[in-house]
């Protein structure tokens, strides 16, 4: 009986100690990290989450936070399932004095959070994913998708293909294939491809891959072998990518004509296919490898994830995501008080006024890792959306092009049209960004 009481008391004391720890930690800048380290999408989720959380730890340890305000990062595992992602957000949003910003790494979850986060005044940074028309800051004040949206990326990929084929006119009468995850994320660029197909006179076949596993692709590749497309574009995620690369290699498709978007072109996507993946291409907006100053600072630092993922495309992208948030917090502090914790609303203002020049990025030790970015009230995508094309050489990703700008003349009207429709459906009066 006595033993039982002692154990109960011990457990109670441990819980109390934990609670005290939480209270003390409330002084920091809270980052709710919605992650997926389990399930079919873990291969992409793990390195991204590691890069994201490690960068905040780096800032805490190397710089003592931003002007003395340290970051508190708490992860919530949601397995890339939209309902659980929303649950994670709800569970974390008010902790430690409130969320600074949230990056769900899922287009489905981003869509589900738009209204909630806007009501809660928590900015969403869906960096290169999420709802494309959220780039219209007049309608979506709390959602940011810089440095480029899916629609911009789609046009830039088509521009790259056109460059390879000899110009935009060469796209006429060509047949392409679009293989995508059957999920809001995978479907996001379809309206853009439809418009480009009409504008430039090409056709494309759509191949959805079932979401549950991402690996049911046999029929897709039988169809592709039959239709012999000039190029394949892929909007995949998780194990879908590795399976697709392997299947493409199996049917002896010319890998240099297979292009993944920036969530379909990481080491995890090509390594399982071995040498068969050599030549596969993908879009990106961040560098890979560890040949950057910031990695020097991480050496020997404790509390970081094990260094197996460090330098991979997705790890580095997670770092870039965190770096944007850190710089937004820094900017918000400059306006609202240095050394003070800033609110989600204040960080929203900072995102909207972010202007990261080449000099700023150099000072952060991130040159080559993140693109120059300037965001405005009107344009939450950033003012210079563009992509780089990288190619897998069997050992590493090599960047093989200069920045390829998006066709903003095509994309921006679509964004404004879709945002206006959303505003109408949701009784939103767009903000005036002219001031």
């Amino acid at each position: 009986m006595l033993t039982k009481k002692l154990v109960t008391a011990g457990v109670a004391a441990a819980i109390a100690a934990g609670a005290i720890g939480v209270v003390q930690a409330e002084e920091g800048q809270f980052i709710p990290a919605l992650t997926y380290r389990t399930g079919p999408y873990a291969p992409g989720g793990i390195p991204t989450a590691n890069g994201y959380t490690d960068y905040f730890h780096l800032i805490n340890q190397r710089d003592g936070g931003v002007n003395g305000v340290k970051f508190i990062v708490e992860e919530c595992e949601y397995g890339y399932k939209t309902d659980r992602g929303v649950e994670c957000y709800d569970r974390l949003k008010d902790k430690h004095g409130g969320a600074t910003a949230v990056s769900p790494y899922s287009t489905g979850t981003t869509y589900a959070l738009i209204d909630k986060a806007t009501a809660d005044k928590v900015p969403i940074l869906s960096m290169g994913y999420g709802r494309t028309s959220a780039a219209d800051g007049r309608v979506f004040p709390y959602v940011f998708n810089f440095p480029a949206t899916y629609w911009s990326q789609a046009t830039a990929v088509m521009q790259y293909i056109a460059n390879e084929m000899g110009g935009l006119e060469a796209l006429k009468d060509q047949r392409f294939a679009f293989i995508y995850l059957d999920h809001p994320y995978g479907k996001e660029p379809i309206p853009t491809f439809d418009i480009l197909a009409e504008k430039f006179g090409f056709t494309y076949d759509k191949y959805p891959v079932p979401f549950a596993t991402g690996t049911e692709q046999k029929s897709v590749w039988l169809q592709i072998r039959r239709t012999k497309p000039a190029y394949i574009i892929m909007w995949g995620w998780g194990v879908m990518n590795a399976t697709a690369v392997k299947e493409a290699a199996n049917i002896k498709f010319d890998m240099s004509k297979f292009i993944g978007n920036w969530w379909s072109a990481s080491e995890q996507d090509v390594l399982p296919a071995g040498d068969g993946a050599i030549g596969y291409k993908g879009a990106t907006f961040n560098g890979s490898g560890t040949d950057y100053k910031v990695f020097e600072d991480m050496k020997g630092m404790s509390g970081l994830s094990d260094d197996g993922d460090r330098g991979t495309v997705l790890y580095n992208r997670g770092m870039v995501n965190a770096a944007y948030i850190v710089e937004a917090v820094r900017l918000a502090q400059e306006k609202y008080g240095k050394g003070k914790r800033v609110t989600g609303e204040q960080v929203r203002w900072a995102f909207e006024n972010l202007d990261l020049t080449a000099e700023n990025i150099e000072a952060l030790g991130l040159t080559g890792l993140m693109p120059v970015t300037k965001v405005t009230c009107l344009n939450h995508e950033g003012t210079n959306p563009a992509i780089l094309i990288q190619q897998w050489n069997g050992k590493a990703w090599e960047i093989i092009t200069d920045w390829i700008p998006a066709m903003t003349d095509v994309v921006r009207p679509l964004i404004e049209q879709d945002a206006a429709q959303y505003a109408k459906e949701n009784n939103i009066t767009p903000r005036d960004c002219s001031a």
Partner: protein, 316 residues
């Protein structure tokens, strides 16, 4: 009218016009079906011997493959890794028997089924904790080349890994059939499956039998896991793919080993034919996720015991 044409005429016109594509789809479907059958075999073994529908069988496939490839990644020779993994699966069978089945003996089948769901969740988390969530390629020398066969009416593509899986499945079915019919343990397993009380009364030790059958199911799961892993890499999607064994079982019957094979072939060929000739033109594709379940549901209306299952006769 156009829809009717797409349903009733166009698919058959395509099949006649492009027989090489039809053959390719059919072979692709049958080889996928063999892979489903490999998983379904494990379900059948346990259900046949103990009357328990082991929901965790899909996770067994993943867990076995994870241990095998994890050991190989640690530098263990593939043959030794294979032997150690069989040991792990046998230990798991012991643990399941001691910790889950014995305390629940004589409970309703639904209670035992719920317990296997618990086992599934535990093993999924435990496996991920032990070995992480990355995709791990399996390199054990399984042929992975694409074979292009020139037939009279055109060239077809066949994956050598798929053919290899077919050989493995045939081998496993033969061994298991011989084991069940010609060994004392196999006969004891069948006796337990028929009637627990009667088997006990003639001196068959129920617990030992359960451990044996769960260990054999673990071995089959390892074989399936290696084949699936060689094809897709060992990854957590395997446990979801393994659920495709459910419609296979409904079609083939829960107690028939040949049924698991035939059911797998029907599901595999059916879903690929439907996807390529009806699903893509009519529904835009991605029908493979649900097609097999619809077929299974329709099948339940007409033959609930499956093609080869034992018909349930209740006298009143």
């Amino acid at each position: 009218m156009e829809t009717l044409y797409l349903i009733l005429i166009d698919p058959f016109v395509q099949m006649v016009d492009e027989p090489s594509f039809l053959v390719e789809v059919l072979i692709g479907g049958l080889t996928s079906g063999v892979m489903y059958s490999l998983v379904a075999l494990g379900f059948v073994l346990i259900f046949k011997a103990s009357g328990i529908f082991n929901f965790a069988q899909g996770i067994f496939v993943l867990f076995a493959a994870l241990n095998f490839v994890g050991l190989m990644d640690l530098g263990v020779h593939p043959i030794l890794a294979f032997v150690i993994t069989i040991g792990i699966m046998t230990a798991l069978a012991f643990a399941v028997d001691r910790l889950v089945l014995r305390p629940l003996v004589n409970q309703d089948p639904i209670i035992l089924f719920m317990a296997t769901i618990g086992i599934a969740f535990f093993l999924e988390g435990f496996g991920e904790t032990l070995w992480g969530g990355d995709v791990r390629p399996v390199q054990v020398g399984i042929p992975d080349a694409a074979l292009f066969w020139e037939l009279g009416f055109g060239e077809i593509l066949v994956q050598s890994a798929d053919l290899f899986a077919g050989v493995i499945a045939a081998f496993l079915v033969t061994v298991l059939a011989l084991f069940f019919h010609f060994t004392p343990v196999g006969r004891a397993l069948r006796a337990v499956a028929d009637d627990h009380q009667a088997a006990l009364s003639v001196g068959i030790p129920l617990n030992n039998i359960w451990v044996i059958v769960w260990a054999v199911a673990g071995f089959v799961a390892l074989a399936a896991g290696i084949m699936w892993g060689a094809k897709l890499g060992v990854q957590f999607a395997l446990s979801t793919i393994a659920l495709k064994a459910l419609p296979v079982l409904i079609l083939g019957g829960f107690t028939s080993i040949p049924g698991a094979i035939v059911g797998g072939l029907i599901v595999g060929a059916g879903e690929k034919l439907f996807e390529n000739f009806w699903g893509v033109p009519l529904l835009g594709g991605a029908t493979e996720d649900w097609f097999a379940y619809i077929v299974a549901m329709i099948f339940l209306f007409f033959r609930p015991q499956g093609l080869f299952g034992e018909k349930i006769i209740e006298r009143v």
